[in-house]
Amino acid sequence: MRFVFKSPAYYFIGSMEAVKEIKKEAVKAKNEVVISINNLKKSFGKNEVLTDITMDVHRGENVVVMGRSGEGKSVTIECIVGLLTPDGGSLKVFGDEVAKMSDKELRQLRMKIGFLFQSGALFDSMTVRENLEFPLTRVLKITEQHELDARVKEVLEGVGLLDAVDKMPADLSGGMRKRIGLARTLIIKPEIMLYDEPTTGLDPITSREISELILDMQKKYKTTSVIITHDMECARITADRVLIMDDGKYIAEGTFESLHKSKNEIVKAFFKDIS
């Protein structure tokens, strides 16, 4: 065997190359489009809800979608998770067309997506613990009780409701139900979080707490989020990018601050009460 001597400079340059490669990968991951929607259309009978929706959501990004009631904001995220089938256009999640997925592929995709419903959608015949254990035992097939307990404790601590573990959903307030709903979606550690009006029906203080919780959880679990909301405070706290929807399509896009200065009449109407 022939020994080849390499100078320290060789190793230094090599390690620098490795660092550059890691940085490049990180930038690439950051720019990776996890949700790609192109010309999405959806009608219910004669009612055209989505006429032409196009958007990309990048990894780690918090996108807030705003618009008047009935504009199809919730329909968009229900299409993303495969609850509704689009009539036209393309909707890709992690590069795969959702409408063409088999049941098995759809189930696998859903394991990577958390969906927080407006009402929290807690299973009201189960305690908080059973609600939280439900996706773990049915989806992740975890059977070890100590692991279940550890996961339940971790998410309940995250949302600040460790005391509510044995309560029934009927015994919880609206804000608590939202927090438990959030905990249940986060317990499977999803890569994408979809929030359907997370602060609707809550008082301003609880709304703010939920918005800050969304941001904290996003930082902690490094999720990509799409947040449907009417709540400007929630949008201001959580948004990296805001999309304004009107008449079944997006009419404006930008940061919260840039849209605040927009000259568009519809956008101005949204930001009217913001100082």
């Binding site: 609850l83 859903r110 969906f115 419903f117 959608a121 299973f123 439900f134």
Partner: protein
Amino acid sequence: MAAVQEQELTGWKKWLASIGDQCIFFTRFFRNIFTGGFEWSEFVRQCYEIGYRSMMLVGITSFIMGAVLILQLRPSFVKFGEESMLPVSLTISLIREIGPVITALICAGKIASSIGAELGSMKVTEQIDAMEVSGANPLQYLVVTRILAVTIMVPLLTVIGDVIGLFGGFLAINFTDSISFYLYFHKCIAAIDFSDFIPAFVKTIFFGFAIGFVGCYKGFNSNKGTASVGIAANSAVVTASLWIFVIDAFCVQITSLLFYR
């Protein structure tokens, strides 16, 4: 299934779409029985809720039905001097027809409506959607367990109801006549054979399936809105009751051809 709900169909197209939808639901139910991950604990809970919790109602109704049948039959039998045949005719009518149909109708009222309302409200409050988007299988957890529990519990409730009905008949006979407990039940048991019991028992399995299936289908596919919970519960009872009579008519024809020619 969602596609049917999303489109505004009318008339016969709506009816055909609904039939197709029910066929798909039926196929999905059967496929899910054998796909593994059977929810045993939920199944046992449903058996308790559906079976044990309905026992009192079925028992009281069957007891009264047995007594009323004897009181109604007695005058006619007295005319022919055949009072001694009362236990026999009660047993045959109770085991073959009255017991299964009355029990099934009671279960349609109690169980189909409760399943329809429960699943309907879960649909309205997005609990079923939440199960689905979490990657779990709501059909496996909510539908398979309920339909199988009803299919098993209705025949058992019918057997219990039949026996209690005979006790009601014994009491009613002793209002006016006198017969010993031993003689009464000896006559009852001697009056029936397996060709009376087995077809009636098999019929109740179909009744149970119809009740469970209709309740689950109506609840699982109810529209979003609080009014639709009531509609789901109501149409579950009406449809299940109708199915009970249709199945009964078919079963009587088949039984007549096989056993009573």
